[in-house]
Every structure is written in structure tokens, then in C-alpha cells.
Amino acid sequence: MSLFNESVFFGVSITLFTYFLGVWVKNKLKLAIFNPLLISIILIILFLAGTGMEYSVYSTGANLISYMITPATVCLALPMYDQMEALKKNAAGVICGIISGCITSGVCVLACTLVFHFNHQIYLTLLPKSITTAIGIGLSEEMGGITTVTVLSIIITGIMGNMIAEGFLKLIRVTDPVAKGIAIGTSAHVMGTAKAMELGETEGAMSSLSIAVAGVMTVVVAPLFAMLW
């Protein structure tokens, strides 16, 4: 296995290849549960478990990809800048909606932590679960959470949001397109936004706006919640 131990690009190749497979499966089946990211993670875990290869062999190369998260997050400033006009037009509703969403997320995680008796580290791990992975992963690390579990929580949250958004918002009588977009983006980040874009242009723009705003607000709110318990 020394070939693999020394290879940097093995980890990169298998990551890209399984993601490619995931996108292919998703396009074939068109269901939110077949998320390319989730498929790729599962395939690589199965591969490593099946071949008995060490995680460190995979991560040597794969870390090369992880390093790009910081510059990619910086790039999110551009869509945020592009949507400033939309934010200004609906400022009051948008800001109130996103703030209440971020606080609600913290309250829910705290309540569940108390009910299910999670330890403090799991509590910290779950606090960033509604926001985009790029920001959530950094926030979880800063607060002392388990980043791996945060990433999976974020993905699962996104998939759930994507699946329920349309029917659930109808059920609770949220009909305003701006409100729909904010609700989806605040609760289910990028993966929810994919659904919001299907619902309409306003929904999509508002949802992607709330990814950035909710992400930044959670960076402020989550550490406060971390001090509560």
C-alpha cells in the first residue's frame, strides 16, 4: 500500500470521482435524499472500510481539497454584494425573519440538548447546524465542536429542508415569496436554496441572501448560546 501512502492525488481523485457519481445519480433520480455530497461521503466510507485503508491515507490528499474552503467562503461575498438591492427593498422583514430564525435554531438545539442529555461538546457541534457548511465548519471548530458531526448535521438539515419546504410552507400558510425564501434559506442553507430557486426567482434570491446573512448572524449568536449551557 506504500504507493497509496505516498500519493497525494489518490485522495483527490476518489473524492472527485465519487462526487461525479453522486451528481449522476441525483440527475437520474431527482430526489433530495440522493444528495451528491452525501452519496460521495457514503461511497468513500464504504471504500475505506471495505479495503481496510486508513483514513489518514485518504486524508493526506483530500486535505488539499479542504484547504479551499476558506477562499471559497470568501467568494460568498460576491453573491451577497449582488443581492444588496433585494435586501434593501425588504430590509425590515428580512432582518427580523433571519434574526428570529437564528435565535430559534439556538433555542431548539438547547432544548433538545436538555431533553436528550447531550454533552457540552455535542451541543457546540449542533449549534451551527442550520447555516452553510463553509461557515458552520469554521464556527464549530472555533467553539470546540466535532467538525465532522457538524458537517453531517448540516447536510442532513439541508436535505430535510429541501424535501419538506414546499408542502410545509403551504401548510403553515406562508405565502409571501419573500418570506418563503427567507424561511428556506435560514433553515436549510444552500440545499434548501436549490428548492427555493425552483419555487421562483424572488424565493431563490431571498433564500441565497439569507444563507450569507444567517451565517454571519449565527457566528455572533452561537457563541452566546455556547455560554448559556
Partner: protein, 122 residues
């Protein structure tokens, strides 16, 4: 040279984010400082969107791939959650539903109350 120049801007700002992170002792990731810095530079028109557009589009599109290694790390960390995965899933489901409801209701209520956005929305 276009992509080299665009990358230079993005990577330099990422580095500045790390520098700020080093000097300010808050639990805020370096990437967020970088993002806010780039946003300000765009708002102040020191950097024009055209100077970074293609690279930003590429990086954002490729983003999901970047989270795969962290997800695979579960293989090593499974022990932390092997006993509690069901309550964890329940927590995620409960809070997703409640957050969606609250943020939707609040936005709709405020928009209707203060009229802003009602015309734009239709």
C-alpha cells in the same frame, strides 16, 4: 492571466482574514473575516465584481466537493455519536421545522405590517 489575477485577489484576502483572526481573539473563523473584508471592498468599489467574478463562480460551484473530506472523517469520529444518533436526527428534524416556521412567519408578518416588499413580491 485573468484567472491568476482573480486568484491572487481571493487568496490574498483569505490570508488577510487569517491575519485578522490571529489578532482578534473571537470565535469567528478566518474565512468570515475574509468574506466581510471582500464585501466591504466591493461596497467601497475598491474591487470591481468583474475582477473576481469567474473565480468566485467556480469556487462556489465547487464548494460541495470541499466538504467531502470532513464528512468522511465521521469514520474516525463515529464513536462520539454511535449511542446518540437517533436523538441527534430527531434534534435536526425538530429544529429544521421550527426554524423554517418561525423565520417564515416573522418575515411575512413584518412585510405585511410595514408594507415594504409587498409590491416587489407580486
Amino acid at each position: 492571466m485573468k484567472y491568476v489575477n482573480q486568484f491572487l485577489v481571493i487568496i490574498s484576502i483569505s490570508f488577510l482574514g487569517e491575519v485578522i483572526h490571529h489578532f482578534i481573539p473571537l470565535p469567528i473563523p478566518a474565512s468570515i473575516y475574509g468574506m466581510i473584508l471582500l464585501f466591504l471592498l466591493l461596497e467601497l468599489q475598491i474591487i470591481k465584481p468583474a475582477q473576481i467574478r469567474e473565480t468566485c463562480d467556480f469556487m462556489i460551484q465547487a464548494m460541495p466537493v470541499m466538504f467531502i473530506p470532513a464528512g468522511v472523517g465521521l469514520l474516525e469520529k463515529w464513536g462520539y455519536i454511535s449511542d446518540i444518533w437517533l436523538p441527534l436526527l430527531a434534534t435536526l428534524a425538530i429544529s429544521t421545522v421550527i426554524v423554517m416556521a418561525i423565520s417564515g412567519w416573522v418575515t411575512q408578518f413584518v412585510n405585511r405590517r410595514f408594507g415594504s416588499g409587498k409590491e416587489d413580491a407580486s
